[in-house]
Amino acid sequence: MFAKTPSTRSFWQVRLKRICVAAIILVLALCAMPNFYQNKTLLSISPVTNEQALPSNDLVKQVLEQHQFTVAQINSNDTTLVELSRQNYSASAQQLLAQTFGERASVKVIEQATAPFWLQKLGLSPIKLGLDLNGGVLFVLKVDTNKALEKRMENIALEAQAIRVKEQLHGVRIEQNTIQGLQLVATPQGKAGLEQLQNKLLKQYPHLDVQTQQQGNLTRATLSYTEAGQAEFDKQTMLQALTTLRSRIEELGITEAVTQRQGANYIRIELPGVQDPTAAKRIIGATAQLSFHALQDQGGKQVKAEYGTVNLNPLAIFSGADIDSAQAGRDEYGKPLVQLSLSPQGGNKMLHFSRDNVGKPMATLYSEYIADSNDEIQQSSKVISVATIQQVLGQKFSITNLDSWQKAQDLALLLRAGSLDAPLTIVTERTIGPSLGEQNISSGFQALALGLSLTLAFMLFWYRKLGFIACIALFANLICLIGLMSLLPGVVLTLPGIAGLVLTIGMAVDTNVIIFERIKEERKQGSSMTCALVRGYRQAQSSIVDANLTTMITAVVLMSIGYGPIKGFAITLALGIITSMFCGVVVSAQLSQWFYRLNSMTTKGVQHG
């Protein structure tokens, strides 16, 4: 009675374990299933406003075929969906259609899942393919946060000057403004004023730090960013750059783009399917900013304008950050313009300013960062228009006098997508043609097929019956790995990733080999098969864990430094280690117990008979 309890418990434990193992494999196999149904890339054409009619299917087809695109399928509903026979070329077709129908329809490249409905409903999707398998454009941009900080310090100095004039603080001088800090000097009479100024600035820029020194009877206060403040500023600048770039890319009509931070100061942008980087580059790399200034008779900032130079009040009335939306259009003479709509705060600022300055001129300043011949980034500014304020302006008004329609469109897009405080430089640019992607996929999978079949053949030949178990475990491993890669978000399959997959297959048998060699040894020492199996699996476990853990360490290190393709390799490697440990130890142990128990029963039966 007492002796029976542990054996029944262990029986249930064994059964539970078996069910768990089977469940895990089944779930992962389910996750791997959508990979049989690769996503379709389609062009979607939708009207800009509800009243406008879509171009007819025949017209779209005609335009596409004139430019050597072959249309496989075209459907029209609320939106027109076009499927090209070579889907890799969808992005260039999108550019063509956007140029042709741009004024009345918006053209986007979209992905459509082809998996059965119930699979889609489970939220399962195939593994994302990297750029080297898909074709597309890659940019790595450096965000110059130092330049942004410099600019911020300049602004603080301007702000301080403005406050000083406005509050009539006597005895306070603003001195030496560098990236290291802004120095305010006060005479004994001006001490109270200095404090007032300090407090105002601190309230507006919360990460500033003040250090006060007494020099004779002068008080010297240095405002600067502390290390933590600077880090916070850098973080915000990076975040702003990321958000701005994301919305710019969205404006370009590329939905599958990947925009992520790389290291401390870099941003990586992957635009799958895009073939011509020039348009994307013009928009992504642009640092154009608009600001609106009052004019001064003397002093201030001298800026180049259409005719000669003008003197501006360096402190802007409002800047690009206050702009809510922008749309390119044309004035009554057909000259391009950009219609702006301001945020409530921006509208307020504009209202106050224009009310006080009716009849006076206002300048629109366009500035951008340009690398000069020494690769130094300089800000270049130009006044694009000086207009007299005719009436009190509110939230809506337009900027006129733009050179070209293209410029108006680009400017509107940039203003919509938000501004960048930090200049960007492209440090890496890569364009992968669609045919190379196809070639990479086929060569990658050929290598996988060859590696897998050779390994399987060898295991069958060498270990016979045990080899059969190893083969099943290997297949389970491949399924689990693919399932896991599809399940985890952010995993991207690249060509080195496929190489990692192949390598995992080659290495995964190691676990089995270690165990099988142990079993052989046990058999040589005269144990029975069942006994040898149990002992073999148990004894080999510590070596297996040791061996895999060290590989895991290097995979993690690789993951933390590598980007793009290398990261793909590291992730496949790391996941491969997990699945091959699971399949090599747990799955094949279950399999061999099951296999040999059945076997021993039948042989026993024969012996008894």
């Binding site: 290598a447 060898f458 390598l503 190691d510 052989k520 040791d546």
Partner: protein
């Protein structure tokens, strides 16, 4: 027989030491030929319809390509053109559109890497290599006796160094995928050392009276089957990548292949042989054993 193995191991170790010294001299003298990932510059992979020799194509390209460039054949009709980073190039990629139509140029892959990011990558890559060597060594020290741990770490260094030297010797380009392969080698080649180390530990504990040299021989003999099988299946799959995986994985596959051959060698001749030179004996394991025994004895 045991004597023969003993001799073979000793001479193998000496050979490895000589090879390491030779590699150091080679790397220091010739230096690595760094790929575009690290140096920066423009790389264009393209396909043409005409079957030309390298010289003929070079003559075709010279009038169109600005500045100096290097041409390499990737496969039938597929070529790679490398333009190193140079000053005052106004439009380095203009040739891609200006080339006469009869060549039938089709761009497969066009990359630009700034020289600055390349320099950062070298730093980062070196750091990653160093960190993973250190992390693995730390793990080994915790897990094994220091003599075994030190030997296994030295074996790793040996593998990485010789693989790099191989790249210098062949004149193959060292790019980012090769760096990834080096890191993978660190992980994989350690497998062999650990499996053998485990066996050595087990046998030393089981047969305290045997001389250590004999025990190591025994451990090697009993793991030899596994070592050969695993290495050969891995090498087979790597050969499949090399053969079918396309030109962009050649460097990666070569590095892995050489690294794993070296790793197998070093697990036998360096990480299993060196501990004996460092004076590994049964006593090193006795302390642990008695601890365990005491614990077992203390249990009711």
């Amino acid at each position: 027989m045991a004597n023969f193995w003993q001799k073979a191991r000793t001479s193998g170790l000496i050979l490895s030491i000589v090879a390491v010294l030779f590699s150091c001299v080679l790397i220091a003298q010739q230096g690595l030929q760094l790929g575009q990932d690290f140096t920066g510059g423009y790389v264009t992979e393209f396909q043409i319809v005409q079957d030309l020799t390298t010289q003929a194509l070079e003559q075709h390209l010279t009038p169109y390509v600005e500045g100096e460039f290097k041409l390499a054949n990737l496969g039938t009709l597929q070529w790679q053109l490398f333009q190193p980073p140079q000053d005052n190039l106004s439009q380095p990629l203009a040739w891609q559109t200006e080339l006469p139509a009869d060549l039938g140029l089709q761009i497969l892959d066009s990359r630009y890497v700034g020289a600055q990011i390349g320099a950062e990558l070298i730093e980062q890559g070196g750091l990653a290599l160093f960190v993973s060597l250190l992390a693995v060594a730390l793990y080994l020290i915790v897990r094994f006796e220091w003599r075994l741990a030190l030997s296994a770490s030295l074996a790793l260094l040996h593998d990485v160094l010789l693989t790099v030297a191989f790249f210098v010797l062949i004149g193959m380009e060292f790019d980012l995928t090769v760096l990834a392969a080096l890191l993978a080698i660190i992980g994989y080649s350690l497998n062999d050392s650990i499996i053998i180390g485990d066996k050595v530990r087990e046998l030393v504990r089981a047969h305290p009276d045997n001389p250590v040299a004999n025990t190591i021989n025994q451990a090697l003999a009993s793991t030899l089957g596994r070592t050969i099988i695993t290495s050969s299946t891995t090498l087979t799959t790597i050969a499949a990548i090399w053969w079918l995986g396309g030109a962009s994985l050649h460097g990666f596959a070569s590095a892995l292949f050489v690294g794993i051959v070296l790793g197998t060698w070093s697990s036998i001749f360096v990480s299993a042989t060196l501990p004996q030179w460092l004076g590994l004996s049964y006593d090193n394991y006795q302390q642990k054993l008695t601890d365990k025994e005491l614990q077992q004895l203390a249990e009711p």
